[in-house]
Subunit: 125 residues, 2 copies
DNA sequence: GCAACGTATGAACTACTGTTCATACGTTCA
DNA sequence: TGAACGTATGAACAGTAGTTCATACGTTGC
C-alpha cells in the first residue's frame, strides 16, 4: 500500500517512488523528529563564527567572560548572549568564583565536532 | 605590551585581563578567520531539520530528488533548494542518469558529524 | 516537434538571528 | 553603605534564512 505518493505534499512528485525499496529501507532508519530537532538546534548554535570561536577557545582553556571578550574582540554583552546559547544547548558549563564566571566546554563530543568540522573545511581547497 | 584592553572594543571589559597568560596561550591556538567562517557555514547548513534529514538519509542510501521529497514529505522545490546548500558546502555529490539526479553524501566527515551530533543530543535527557 | 516528467532556480514573503544599547543584578572592597 | 566591577538580560534594529509559487531547463518517448 501507499506505493504511490498521491500528493501527500502539495509539490511532492506526483509519481510513484523511483525506488520504493530503498526509500522504505531509509525510512526505517530515520531518526525520530525530536532527535532531529535537537540536533538542528545544536548545529544552529554552532553555526555562528563568534560562538565557534568561543567554543573552540573554551576547548583549550577555562576562561571568564571578560577574557573571552578581550580575546575575541567582541563586546561583553555579545559574549554573554552567545554563552547563553551555548549553555542552553549544554555545550558549556560554568562556575562562579566571586563575581567572575568561568566557562569551559561541557562535553567531549563538542570538541570532537569542532575538530571534525575544522578537518572537513581545511581539506577542501 | 598591550596587557591592558583599553577599549579595543566598545563594550569589552575596560580592565586588565583576568589571566593574561591563559589568554595568550589560547590566542596562539585559535584558528584563522577563514577556517572559522567556513566551519560556521558548514554548521549553518546543518542547522536545519530538513537538511539534516536529507543528509542523514543520503548517508544511508543514494537517492533521487523525487524519492527524498516523498520520503520526507517535503516539496520538491524545498528539497532542491536544500540540496543546493548541501552541494555548495560539498557535503553531497550527485550524478545524473537521464533526467534523474542521484544524490549521496560526499564525505565521511559529515556522516561522523551527524553521528557524533546525534550521540550528543541523545545522551542529554 | 511536442507533451510529460524530473529537476533547478529566482522572487517574494515571513520568521528568525546576532548585535548593540541600556540597564539590572550580585559581589567585592573601602 | 556605596562605588566599582563582572556578568546577565530584555528590547530593538538590521540582516539573513527557509518556504512557497511560478517558471524554466533538459531529457524521454510518442
Amino acid at each position: 500500500m501507499a506505493s504511490r505518493a498521491t500528493q501527500s505534499v502539495s509539490d511532492a512528485c506526483e509519481v510513484e517512488f523511483v525506488d520504493e525499496k530503498k526509500v522504505r529501507r531509509v525510512e526505517r532508519a530515520m531518526k525520530p523528529p525530536e532527535a532531529v530537532a535537537a540536533l538542528s538546534e545544536l548545529f544552529k548554535v554552532l553555526g555562528d563564527p563568534t560562538r565557534i570561536r568561543i567554543a573552540y577557545a573554551l576547548s583549550r582553556e577555562e576562561l571568564c567572560v571578560c577574557d573571552i571578550s578581550n580575546l575575541l574582540g567582541v563586546s561583553q554583552s555579545a559574549v554573554s548572549h552567545s554563552l547563553r546559547s551555548l549553555r542552553q544547548m549544554k555545550l558549556v558549563r560554568f562556575r562562579k568564583e566571586g563575581k567572575i564566571a568561568y566557562y569551559a566546554l561541557d562535553d567531549e563530543h563538542v570538541a570532537r565536532l569542532l575538530e571534525d568540522g575544522f578537518r572537513h573545511v581545511e581539506e577542501s581547497p
